[in-house]
C-alpha cells in the first residue's frame, strides 16, 4: 500500500468495463429485488475497484434514480405499483432523509448498524416462513 497506492489505483478506479460490470449487476439486482442496489454498487466500487467508502456511497446514490425509475416503470406496466402507499412512504422518507443528514454525526453508528442488522435478520427469517 503506502504512498504509491492512490496513483496505482487511479486508472483502475475509473475503468469503464469495471464500471459497466458493476452498473449492470446493480441494475439487475435492483430490478429483480425491487431495491435501490446501493449495497451492490457500493460493494463493487469499494471492494472490487478500491474506491473510498464515502465517494462510493455518493456516486452510487447518483446512479440509482434512473435504474429505479426504469424498474418501477416495468413493474407499473404489469400493475405492480401501489401509488398511494408509495406516496406515503416518500413523504415519510423525505423526513427521515432530512433527519438522517442532520443528526448523522451525532448517532452511534455501530449501535444503529447492529439494531438495523438484527431487524433485517428477523425480517429475512420471517419472510422465509409461510
Amino acid at each position: 500500500m503506502g504512498e504509491s497506492a492512490p496513483q496505482v489505483s487511479q486508472p483502475r478506479m475509473y475503468s469503464k468495463p469495471a464500471l459497466i460490470a458493476v452498473g449492470a449487476t446493480t441494475g439487475l439486482i435492483s430490478g429483480l429485488l425491487g431495491i435501490g442496489g446501493g449495497t451492490v454498487a457500493v460493494f463493487g466500487l469499494v471492494v472490487l475497484m478500491h474506491w473510498a467508502q464515502h465517494d462510493a456511497h455518493a456516486t452510487a446514490l447518483a446512479a440509482i434514480p434512473p435504474l429505479a425509475a426504469v424498474g418501477a416503470i416495468v413493474f407499473a406496466l404489469s400493475g405492480h405499483v401501489e401509488v398511494r402507499a408509495g406516496l406515503l412512504l416518500i413523504a415519510g422518507g423525505f423526513v427521515g432523509a432530512a433527519l438522517g443528514a442532520r443528526i448523522m454525526a451525532r448517532l452511534p453508528e455501530v449501535l444503529l448498524r447492529r439494531a438495523f442488522g438484527l431487524l433485517m435478520l428477523a425480517v429475512g427469517i420471517r419472510l422465509l416462513l409461510p
Binding site: 459497466i20 449487476t25 430490478g31 446501493g38 452510487a60 446514490l61 418501477a72 413493474f75
Partner: protein, 144 residues
Amino acid sequence: MTGFEIALTVVAGVLTGLLSALFGGGGGQISIPFMILVLGFSQHVAEGTSLFVIVPIAALGAWAHSRRGYVRWRPALSLATAGIAGAAAGALLAVRTDELLLRRFYAAFVLYAAFRFLRPKGAAAEPVTIEEGVLAQESDGSGA
C-alpha cells in the same frame, strides 16, 4: 387503507429515509418487508412500489452528497447507463417470476444484508483504511 395503516406507512417511510441517509442505501430492506408483512402486499407489488419510492429518495440523497462534492459524475453516468439495461432485464425477469420464488430470493438478500450490517469489521474495515489516503489525495478535485 385505514388511518392507522396510513400513519404506519409514513413511519416506515421515515425509517426508510433514515436508513438510506445514514448508510447510503438499504431503504428497500425496510419498505418491502413492511409492505408485505404489515400492508399485505404481494412480493411483486411491494417491489414495484419500493422502486417507485427509491427514485425521489435516492435523488435527494445524491443531491445532498453532491453539494459536498462527493459524487463522481462521470463514473456515475457509466454505472447508470449499464444499470438501466440491467434494471430493465431484472424487472422483466421479476414480473415473470413466481411469487414464492421471488420472495425467497429477496429474503436471501435481506439475510445477506443483515450479516453485512452485523459484521462491519469483516469486509468494511479494510476499505475504510484505504479511504483516508485516497480522500486526502483526491477530495480537493472537481470530481469529474
